[in-house]
């Protein structure tokens, strides 16, 4: 991402606007300090304390972290979350790329783009409830169709092996259109004459996809991946509404575990340590992705 651009052009130096500027950024700065930076510091501090909200917090050093490393539920949550992210991002990226390319080659109508975006407008809660109904074991139309096809009914939200893939796919449904539009915007930046040239040379659609589209899309695709992976790691709503972590711990993702530690067991110190772990994990994953996809550089020149 670009940082602040240089002051526009060679404008004549006029009087300094500092006082007005300070007034104008005052509300936003309050928001930044009070609701972004202060919680950041406070969260890190709390992770070194033992605190149940009622009595004052006591500093306990790295005890929360040593507990965490020995906590099987934490490792399980990490594993479940990682599985979720892999399925969610894997399927979503492929489907979104397919939709974006189809839109680019078939039709760029606003109507089509709007229809594709529709699921993104409903909340995670709504998406979760709708699929809870569609995939209900007894009455869900999804399972009735399976049975009609001569297959066995599937306990999408009740079987340990299905629950994470199911939740991952529900969120693919909600986000694939949005992701497709992000990728689509990147596709529009590819000069159409490159495709014309390829067609003159006799290249097939599939060949031009791999020779032109994919390489030129790489920086945008990299950014899309970074943003969606960060979002994906923070899955909570869908799980909280459909399974509350069950069956057993099969869908107890990291955020849900953090929420339960804080709001069910009032262990704010430990919950903070867990969120520090999630933050570090996100930073590492983002950094690696940035390096691997070389999202900062463009081949379009």
């Amino acid at each position: 991402m670009t940082t602040a651009a240089p002051p526009t052009g060679a404008r004549r130096r006029r009087r300094d606007d500092t006082r007005l500027a300070l007034l104008f950024i005052a509300p936003a700065t309050i928001g930044l300090l009070v609701f972004y930076f202060w919680p950041l510091l406070r969260g890190v501090w709390l992770s070194f304390t033992s605190w149940d909200v009622l009595t004052p917090a006591t500093f306990i050093g790295v005890e929360n972290y040593t507990t965490m490393f020995a906590d099987p539920v934490f490792w399980n949550a990490l594993r479940v979350t990682a599985l979720y992210v892999v399925i969610n991002i894997g399927v979503q990226t492929v489907v979104a790329l397919l939709i974006a390319v189809l839109m680019q080659r078939l039709s760029q109508s606003i109507l089509l783009r709007s229809l594709v975006l529709t699921p993104y407008l409903v909340s995670n809660v709504v998406a979760a409830l709708v699929f809870l109904w569609i995939l209900d074991f007894q009455l869900g139309v999804g399972n009735n169709i399976l049975e009609g096809l001569g297959l066995d009914r599937i306990g999408f939200f009740t079987s340990e092996s299905w629950v994470i893939p199911t939740i991952a796919l529900v969120n693919v449904w909600r986000h694939m259109g949005y992701t497709a539009l992000l990728i689509f915007a990147g596709l529009l930046a590819i000069p159409p004459n490159m495709y014309e040239a390829a067609r003159v040379d006799g290249a097939s659609e599939i060949r031009s996809f791999f020779a032109i589209t994919l390489p030129l899309l790489r920086p945008i695709l990299g950014l899309v991946l970074i943003v969606s992976v960060i979002g994906s790691f923070q899955v909570f709503d869908t799980v909280a509404v459909t399974t509350s972590g069950g069956p057993v711990d099969a869908s107890r993702v990291l955020q849900l575990y953090i929420y339960e530690k804080a709001f069910a067991q009032f262990d704010f110190g430990y919950a903070s340590a867990l969120s520090v772990a999630l933050l570090l994990l996100l930073m590492i994953v983002t950094f690696l992705q940035y390096r691997v996809t070389r999202a900062g550089q463009s081949d379009l020149s």
Partner: protein, 308 residues
């Protein structure tokens, strides 16, 4: 949906001569399958909401509504007596969606108005005003773009608690009132494009820079401001985790949290699917209508053009 296909096909034909190759037909087939997967759940919600629970248990998969009626909606809006609700498969618990709807509207409206206005002010300072340290301060705002929400939720909850704002609508909206880094970033891109000549002409006419913001900058970026406003409204409306933390009673319950609870209050006879889907529809409909009104603006503004 058939209309959609017909409409886009017509566009296509006028743009370039129709080339019907097998590959193209196959591509359309794939696209239509994707659209069916995308839109079917919406139809299914409507179909279920118009059905009755008793009929749903007998015939869960008929394509149209079964036991057609508006009982589910009546239940959602508390228009049914407890006995009537229980007889139709509801939990009989008092739910008042008008209240939750009002709470959601209050929160989303306040957050949108304040957040967009304050973000626009900051964006103006970062794009049109000249002051020392401007770029450094802006980088700090950019940095906050990378703080994941989860990390701020717990400490923010503690702060709201210390302020005594737990279980109030004000407590839910407070962290969102000031700005989001994205809104500042987005609006700054557009404010930078206002031509210097127009701005200077206004100043020669004696307008102060503060006045220029109100009479020139805001009117000239009304499009982007509307876009970010709609996106803010939708996000705030759909938010679940944060209001779930802050609200405990009906006083501050917003639609998303109420929906989560509605699901938890499963009657002994099995879930009230018709009522649940009616509630879901009520929660989703305002955003779908808002989107329909502004679809062109929203879909064309999605992309990294705002960021890069």
């Amino acid at each position: 949906m058939t209309q959609a296909v017909a409409g886009t096909a017509r566009n296509q034909r006028s743009r370039r001569r129709a080339r019907t190759s097998p590959g193209r037909v196959l591509a359309w087939v794939v696209m239509i399958i994707i659209l069916v997967v995308t839109l079917f759940p919406f139809y299914w919600v409507l179909r279920t909401a118009l059905s009755s629970n008793a009929a749903l248990y007998v015939d869960p998969s008929a394509l149209g509504p079964v036991g057609l009626g508006f009982g589910a909606f009546a239940r959602v809006f508390g228009q049914q007596s407890v006995e009537e609700a229980i007889a139709q498969g509801g939990s009989g618990a008092s739910i008042d969606f008008w209240l939750y709807l009002r709470n959601s509207i209050v929160v989303a409206t306040a957050v949108t108005l304040f957040q967009v206005f304050f973000s626009a002010m900051a964006a103006y300072a970062f794009s049109r005003l000249r002051w020392r340290g401007r770029n450094q301060v802006f980088s700090l705002f950019l940095l906050s773009l990378m703080v994941p929400t989860i990390f701020t939720l717990l400490p923010n909850f503690l702060l709201i608690r210390q302020l005594g704002l737990i279980d109030t609508l004000f407590g839910i909206m407070l962290p969102g009132l000031f700005m989001t880094p994205f809104a500042i970033f987005f609006l700054r891109q557009f404010l930078m494009n206002i031509s210097t000549e127009v701005e200077e002409a206004a100043q020669i006419d004696g307008a102060s820079k503060a006045r220029v913001f109100f009479v020139l900058a805001i009117p000239m970026t009304v499009g982007p401001i509307a876009t970010i406003g709609i996106l803010t409204y939708i996000n705030s409306w759909n938010d679940y985790f944060w209001p779930l933390m802050v609200s405990y009673t009906d006083d501050s319950r917003v639609l998303t949290v109420a929906l989560g609870n509605f699901n938890a209050q499963t009657p002994q006879t099995g879930p009230d699917w018709a009522g649940l889907m009616a509630a879901t529809l009520v929660a989703a409909l305002p955003m779908l209508v808002l989107f329909m009104a502004f679809a062109r603006r929203i879909v064309s503004s999605i992309g990294f053009s705002g960021i890069k």
